[in-house]
């Protein structure tokens, strides 16, 4: 079942972001190959999806039917009309089709239709296919015979697919086996994605909604998969997109598939290395920063390409990338603008076309700034910023640590051996680029190679983020952006091999390059092996799994779960939920005790009209109470809100679950409507199944007060169910 869900999500993403743009969007003018076509349209489409999602949600029109209608309209205007289709042609085609159908049907009824045998042997001319890149055009196109087409296809496509597939597998393997999302932020984006599908935006305040938009759109095509599954598997997809971006950028700028495979493999296979400054748990979670990084690195070569080809089509792609990045996460945006400018101006210095270099830079900048328009618009609508955004100043404050301390979450600052190796690769790449530049047939290759070297040099400069003088938080984020891009420097080094490859023997040259790429990757991995793949969970896998099971087994909104906020996010839109701390506060032990005991109280000695003793004030037939027998080892966080105070404080978390445990055990002793739904060493799930008193439940104040009173609750009592001694 898990595998089906994975396939469903992967196919959904493919349909939503690869197939649909292929069908609907026009071919980008700057696209020279199928890969260019797919990649450019992917970037453009992702921007369209993000912007359109925002608009549709604001007008409460975000529905599958509406999306389908808009896709049809777009298809008509972008593909059909330019090919001469209009209403008359449609009518004529329809009439022709129906008349033919009637004629064939009538002839068939009269027995006049005969099947024709195609017995003619066709002598086909030798078929040729052009597999050259634009840069090889100067050297003359290489036409392959039909028999070599398969080999060319295998050489070009299979190694790439293998690299991407293995990179994806490394990232998805953990998520395939676990339902608990990692990292914790994934729950937030999943919740926001669910909100979008219910036409709600900025549910918790203003925050870039690019990632939830992508998740919501993917979920439209993911049959047999829930939003939880989309969140689980979209993280590895995004992580693999970063790998693809590295591959594509390296390929387009070095024209060397081996160098591209090498660079992609460095991050794809060895992504756990601390030198990339990108924690593994961020590469497997549906996080906006990583999505923005992926978009940025995929779109990186278009600046240089716009200058070299003097093509405005590439500027559109850059603009779309900037918009998508700006609406997904702000941190990668300046890096994208800066690196695009570096690539474009380098190309301009070497080949002219400063107009396009300026155009590329300004397009990236203006589009990126325009993407932030959602902030003032939302503020005008009276929506505040998302609470946890309380640090909008990226620069370190005066008087703080003078070293601009930037304590990285992952990896260390400074130039480590890998970074120093990258410097050498860039130097080799520069030399090769200059050699290519001076040969007329490879001049354009040299321009692109040197552009990549310039970009890599900029990355190397930014690699030690201390000099940027950023706040620790932003320094970390910046390091996480720049770190993976370091692999492009290695592409420069191996890309230098292009100088030595035989130009007239394309297949042989490609084969040599690819083999060299894999050999280099193996050598690198030998010296710098991968590390352990770490996840960051905040609840037990069994909690997530049982919650998912309940959501699948029970009809929507007929059950209530009492548990942690992550469970609420998991069943949002499917079931009702009561916070564990609210339950622990309101559910009194008196209400759990022997109902017979309460008879006297009801008959003559009412004590506290609210607690009538035999009503559980939850108006659903089934109630599931999740108790952690062994408190989950959550990280301790400052009590900025109820979630942090009650669930990210191990003592208070323990006290909450202990109260829930005590209440449940007592209730089960005296009531026949409760059973143990699930139990293991870590958690115990109780199920109450009865005919609820709906009116009575609505009349009582229990479980309805969610006002947070900091520091007032759960300050005393046992912190573990093991400490409880039941009467």
């Amino acid at each position: 079942m898990n595998t089906i869900r994975l396939i469903s999500v992967v196919v959904a993403f493919g349909v939503g972001f690869v197939l649909l743009p292929w069908i609907i969007l026009p071919k980008p003018s700057g696209a020279r190959t199928v890969l260019d076509h797919l990649t450019a349209n992917f970037i453009r489409w992702i921007a369209v999806v993000i912007v359109a999602t925002h608009i549709l949600v604001v007008f409460r029109l975000y529905e599958t039917l509406m999306i389908a209608a808009l896709c049809l309209i777009a298809f008509w205007y972008f593909k059909m009309r330019p090919n001469g289709w209009n209403r008359d042609k449609v009518r004529a085609t329809w009439n022709h089709f129906t008349l033919r159908l009637v004629a064939v049907g009538d002839a068939a009824e009269r027995g006049e239709v005969r099947m024709r045998r195609n017995s003619q042997k066709r002598s086909e001319p030798v078929q040729t296919v052009d597999v050259t890149t634009p840069e090889q055009d100067n050297a003359g196109s290489t036409k392959l015979r039909r028999g070599s087409r398969l080999i060319a296809l295998l050489l070009l496509v299979v190694p790439v697919i293998l690299v991407l597939a293995w990179s994806f597998w490394l990232r998805v393997e953990g998520n395939l086996n676990e339902l608990a999302l990692s990292p914790p932020d994934a729950y937030v984006h999943m919740t926001w994605a669910k909100g979008l599908t219910a036409n709600q935006i900025y549910m918790d305040g203003i925050y870039p909604y690019g990632m939830p938009s992508v998740m919501a759109f993917t979920s439209k095509f993911a049959f047999q998969a829930s939003m939880l599954d989309v969140a689980r598997f979209l993280g590895p997809i995004v992580g693999t997109l970063i790998v693809y971006g590295i591959f594509y950028t390296a390929l387009r700028l070095t024209s060397n598939p081996g160098a591209a495979i090498f660079a992609a493999g460095l991050f794809g296979f060895l992504g756990t290395r601390p030198e990339w400054h990108e924690p593994w748990y961020r590469q497997i979670g549906p996080l906006p920063q990583e999505l923005a990084l992926a978009i940025g690195v995929i779109a990186l070569p278009f600046g240089a390409l716009a200058v070299l080809h003097r093509d405005k089509g590439h500027l559109i792609t850059i603009a779309c990338a900037s918009v998508a990045i700006g609406m997904t996460h702000p941190v990668p945006l300046p890096f994208f603008i800066g690196l695009t400018a570096v690539g474009a101006f380098t190309a301009a210095i070497l080949s002219g076309g400063f107009k396009f270099a300026v155009g590329a830079t300004l397009t990236a900048a203006i589009a990126g700034i325009a993407a932030f328009i959602y902030i003032p618009l939302a503020r005008l609508a009276g929506i505040g910023l998302f609470g946890p955004i309380n640090n909008t100043n990226p620069f370190a404050q005066q008087g703080e640590e003078t070293t601009n301390g930037a304590n990285l979450v992952y990896g260390e600052l400074g130039y480590n051996p890998i970074a120093r190796l990258a410097i050498i690769c860039v130097i080799i790449g520069v030399v090769a680029g200059i050699v290519l530049l001076f040969a007329r047939s490879t001049r354009s290759k040299g321009v692109l190679m040197l552009s990549l070297c310039a970009i890599s040099a900029a990355i190397l400069v930014l690699y030690d983020v201390r000099f940027l003088g950023l706040d620790d938080f932003y320094a970390n984020r910046s390091a996480q952006i720049v770190g993976p891009l370091l692999t492009l420097a290695f592409a420069c080094g191996l890309g230098a091999l292009t100088v030595l490859l035989p130009r007239k023997q394309f297949l042989l040259g490609t084969a040599i390059a690819i083999v060299a790429g894999f050999v280099a990757l193996a050598a690198f991995a030998e010296n710098y092996p991968a590390r352990a793949r770490q996840r960051v969970n905040i609840l037990y896998e069994s909690t997530a799994r049982i919650t998912d099971q309940i959501a699948n087994d029970y009809e929507r909104f007929t059950y209530t779960i009492v548990g942690t906020p992550q469970q609420r996010q998991q069943i949002l839109g499917d079931g009702w939920f009561i916070e564990g701390w609210v339950f622990a506060r309101d559910a009194s032990l008196r209400s759990a005790r022997d109902p017979g005991y309460q008879m006297n109280a009801r008959q003559g000695i009412p004590r506290g009209a609210r607690d009538v003793g035999d009503i559980l004030a939850i108006p659903t037939q089934d109630v599931f109470i999740f108790v952690e027998k062994e408190v989950y080892p959550v990280p301790e966080l400052a009590p900025d809100g109820p979630t942090e105070e009650y669930y990210f404080n191990r003592e208070k978390r323990g006290r909450i679950f202990t109260r829930m445990y005590t209440w449940s055990e007592l209730y089960m002793r005296y009531h026949t409507d409760m059973s143990v739904y699930y139990e293991d060493d870590e958690i115990k799930v109780y199920r109450i199944s009865r005919t609820p008193d709906v009116d009575g439940a609505e009349d009582t104040p229990e479980f309805k007060d969610y006002l947070w009173r900091p520091g007032e609750l759960f300050n005393t009592g046992p912190t573990s169910p093991e400490e409880v001694k039941l009467p």
Partner: protein, 536 residues
């Protein structure tokens, strides 16, 4: 004795007596040749080069000779009188009660259903205590059954009625059986698709998926069988079938204590079976009773392809029409609302408003039925009354007729809506089961739906004209855009504001339907002579 040929004057007298006024020499030539005269005869006995020259002479003499002219016109007048007597329209005193009763009979099934639900708390497919999830599933199945069976119903009505009017009862039976079988196959295919769709897309409660498909199947069977009675113009039997079905539900529910869903299925299928048997019996009876030797009895139906091609526009219109009637419900059930357990979520208040509005249509239906029938009754007599030179008078007469019927319809529609509104408001005081379903939304929906249904009924008046002159494409030209507008407006408003704003989609669609059909109808009536002529 030598053969004596009639003289030219005798030829003129004979033709004037037998055929009346000769329009041209060609008509005369045709009659002369039918009498056995050839070019050789014309040369030998009449001194004319050929029959055509002889015919010219005959026509000239008829025009010049008073006696011949008088005899010819006497013949024409006799023939006209005979034809007129054959197609004489009913007198007003006879027509109005008869067709108002027929129109009222149209509303009888609905009345029976409403009475049943008030008395028994259930009817043929409704049950007062259905949960919302179950009502949603049944509502979806019901709406789809109308939509799918609607097109087949139109096809049966068109083709079956054509054979019925020609007295070819056996052919009528055959073609009805064909379309019934086609309807069943189509229903089964759609049912399979529906079941898979509900399995993949849980737009209704998964627990009620089978219920939705079950009601869709059985109700489709019911509509298909009732279509036969409708085609035979036995609307009263329609009501009997409904009443019978409810009776069966009652028996199985109250006597055998069956669950309501099972009882419903038996009741629905009983009503369908009754309709089918009645239609069969009637057609066989008519066939046996018909002694006219000119009526062919063992003819085959046209080839399937030709049959389908001829009814395809009517099929399409049926789909469009029922789509227009039901699209707003589905849109409302998926619209913006404070809570829904599934994507499609039945709204009782919206449904109450719509059904209430349908009640107000009963008088309008009567006026509609009257208008349609009187129109068909008057066409032949008026055609006989006016000559070719008086076509503008012919058209003007029908334009006046059409205008009067439209005004009558308008008055009856307004009266019906007001009666329905005040009548139900009065009844609500005494029937608590209705009262608890009422709210402001029901009332608002009622008013807008009442106007919408009245406009749609008015459009049907125009559409019946299009069908009568065999121009179904005009009906599609009106219904297609109307459905599109209905869906677009209803969808946008129900999402932007609230679910019940879908009724404005229905209203917009109805306005478009009425306007387009009116414009096209005026175009047809203003050239009715041409359309009448070309429809045969």
């Amino acid at each position: 004795m030598p053969l004596t040929m009639p003289t030219v004057d005798e030829l003129v007298d004979e033709l004037s007596q037998n055929t009346g006024w000769l329009e041209s020499s060609y008509e005369a030539a045709a009659h002369l040749e039918a009498m056995g005269l050839s070019d050789e005869d014309a040369r030998r006995f009449y001194g004319q080069p050929d029959v055509f020259a002889l015919a010219e002479d005959v026509v000239r003499r008829q025009r010049e000779q008073d006696a011949s002219r008088t005899r010819a016109w006497d013949k024409e007048r006799r023939r006209q009188t005979e034809e007129y007597d054959k197609h004489k329209p009913d007198s007003l005193l006879r027509a109005i009660p008869r067709f108002f009763i027929r129109g009222a009979v149209f509303g009888l099934p609905m009345t029976i259903m409403i009475i049943a639900i008030l008395l028994l708390l259930y009817s043929l497919w409704a049950y007062y205590y259905f949960t919302v999830t179950r009502a949603t599933a049944i509502g979806v199945g019901t709406a789809l059954s109308y939509f799918i069976a609607g097109g087949i119903t139109q096809a049966i009505g068109r083709r079956g009625l054509m054979y019925l009017r020609q007295g070819m009862f056996l052919l009528c039976l055959k073609v009805s059986a064909f379309f019934l079988a086609l309807g069943v196959v189509l229903t089964l295919i759609v049912a399979a698709i529906l079941w898979v769709f509900f399995a993949v897309f849980p737009v209704i409660s998964p627990l009620d998926r089978n219920v939705a498909v079950l009601y869709y199947l059985t109700l489709s069977a019911l509509w298909l069988c009732l279509a036969l009675l409708y085609m035979l113009q036995r609307e009263f039997l329609f009501s009997v079938a409904i009443a019978l079905g409810i009776g069966v539900v009652y028996i199985f529910r109250e006597w055998f204590d069956w669950p309501i869903i099972a009882a419903h299925q038996v009741g629905i299928l009983s009503a369908a079976a009754f309709s089918l048997v009645c239609a069969l019996v009637l057609l066989v009876f008519y066939h046996r009773r018909n002694k006219d030797p000119r009526t062919p009895i063992s003819t085959k139906l046209p080839r399937v392809t030709m049959l389908m091609a001829s009814v395809a526009p009517f099929l399409l219109f049926g789909f469009l029409y029922f789509g227009l009637l039901f699209a707003d419900r589905i849109i409302a059930w998926t619209g913006r609302m404070p809570f829904r357990q599934s994507f499609i979520w039945f709204r009782t208040d919206y449904e109450v408003g719509l059904n209430w509005a349908l009640l107000g249509l009963l008088p309008a239906f009567a006026a509609l039925e009257y208008a349609i029938y009187r129109f068909s009754q008057f066409t032949k007599p008026r055609q006989l009354e006016y000559s070719l030179k008086e076509t503008s008078s012919f058209r003007d007469w029908f334009m006046r007729f059409f205008t009067m019927r439209a005004l009558t319809f308008l008055v009856m529609a307004i009266a019906g809506v007001l009666i329905a509104y005040f009548g139900v408001r009065y009844a609500v005081r005494y029937v608590p089961e209705i009262a608890i379903m009422f709210n402001d939304i029901s009332v608002t929906v009622f008013w807008w739906a009442a106007v919408s249904y009245a406009l749609i009924a008015f459009s049907l008046l125009n559409v019946s004209l299009f069908f009568w002159v065999s121009r179904p494409s005009l009906a599609i030209m009106a219904a297609g855009p109307a459905l599109l507008v209905d869906i677009i407006v209803g969808f946008l408003l129900s999402r932007f504001f609230s679910y019940w704003w879908a009724v404005f989609g229905l209203f917009s669609g109805a306005v478009v339907f009425a306007l387009l059909s009116l414009v096209l109808a005026i175009r047809v009536v203003s050239k009715l002579d041409y359309y009448y002529y070309s429809s045969f």
